[in-house]
């Protein structure tokens, strides 16, 4: 009895060993509980009773959170793969243009800049041809004048003209 009292005191002090607590619980579960300890019997019975409380049912939400059926997933994966490949091509194509130019591409380099728009390139080319034409025209103007002078200053022609004029005067005097 003293032993039970000691263990009980230790129990309430929180210093009882796990083995002592086990013995105490067994004692209060038995039919040999002394009258002086009867008042503590419901305490240990309450612990046992609380241990019987069970959780409500939890249903795993399979449909909501889990993966799609196999066939659906397969289709989805295929579609995603195609989309990924197309996206890759779209991403890589401009890179290819930047690094190398194929013979079929319409590309004009202006001040080191590649222009692939045909209209822009045409406008720029026309402008450049006009400028070149003007340069050529203004550059050849003195040469044309010199040629004209050269033609006018032809000695044979001058002598021919002069001999014709002399002959004309001679015939007039006779």
């Amino acid at each position: 009895m003293n032993n039970v009292n000691d263990i009980l005191n230790n129990y309430f002090e929180g210093t009882a060993l796990p083995e002592e607590e086990k013995r105490l619980k067994e004692y209060f579960r038995s039919d040999t509980v002394l009258t002086e300890h009867e008042m503590y019997k419901p305490l240990f019975a309450a612990f046992n009773e609380e241990k019987q409380i069970s959780a409500p049912i939890f249903v795993i939400p399979v449909k909501k959170n889990d993966k799609k059926p196999f066939l659906f997933r397969k289709l989805w994966i295929s579609a995603a793969s195609i989309a990924a490949v197309m996206l890759l091509v779209v991403i890589l194509f401009p890179l290819k243009n930047k690094t190398e130019i194929s013979s079929g591409d319409y590309v004009v380099f202006i001040h080191g800049k590649a222009i692939s728009d045909p209209k822009k390139a045409q406008v720029y080319a026309d402008k450049m041809f006009m400028q070149a034409n003007e340069i050529i025209r203004t550059s050849y103007e003195p040469l044309v004048e010199a040629n004209t002078i050269h033609k006018e200053m032809d000695a044979d022609k001058i002598f021919d003209d002069l001999s014709q004029k002399i002959n004309y005067i001679k015939s007039a005097n006779q």
Partner: protein, 191 residues
């Protein structure tokens, strides 16, 4: 109370998920009862405890891939449940502060005798203890957990757990003794 089995329904279409559901059952749902009892101990309300339990389970199910990495799963789950319940208690308060613990008064002897169920009254007495004390006493005496694990769940030292456990048990003893004296007085008055 009758113990119920855990119901895990898996549709035949999702057979591939069986492993996940089974793992979840083995790793988490095996602690269901302890978790629910923890919720009851903190919240002291069946309906709220059921909500807390379902909420925690949903969260755990959604993050089930991360659960594999947790070493002490029981401590993690019980800590999560306690924190969730404390959050719920805070949200119930207009100022968002955790409610003060009820005074540890002994239930009215008239009421007790009417109920005529001392075992249930002990549970009510435990519910009168401060949240920390009642959670500790239940983890120790109902769940029969080790002091080290209780300390881990409660984020306390083992000495602090022992002190709280001692206080809780002493208060319960006082309540039992007071209740017995009141019963005696009632008995004598009736005579």
């Amino acid at each position: 109370m009758k113990k119920s089995t855990i119901d895990v329904r898996i549709s035949p279409v999702s057979r591939l998920l069986c492993m996940n559901a089974q793992q979840f059952q083995h790793q988490v749902l095996c602690y269901s009862d302890k978790l629910y009892r923890m919720a009851l101990s903190v919240l002291k309300d069946d309906s709220l405890s059921q909500d807390a339990y379902q909420e925690l389970m949903m969260r755990l199910w959604e993050k089930r891939s991360q659960l594999k990495m947790i070493e002490n799963r029981q401590a993690y789950l019980l800590t999560s449940m306690r924190n969730l319940c404390l959050d719920m208690l805070r949200k119930q308060q207009p100022n968002g502060v955790l409610p003060l613990n009820a005074a540890s008064t002994v239930p009215d002897p008239h009421q007790l005798t009417e109920e005529a169920d001392m075992v249930n009254n002990i549970s009510r007495m435990i519910d009168l203890l401060p949240e920390m004390q009642r959670t500790i006493i239940r983890m120790k005496d109902v769940e029969e957990m080790e002091m080290t694990e209780i300390a881990k769940i409660m984020s306390l030292t083992e000495n602090a757990v022992t002190a709280n456990l001692s206080r809780a048990r002493k208060k319960i003893r006082e309540m039992i003794l007071t209740h017995q004296q009141q019963e005696k007085m009632l008995y004598e008055q009736r005579k």
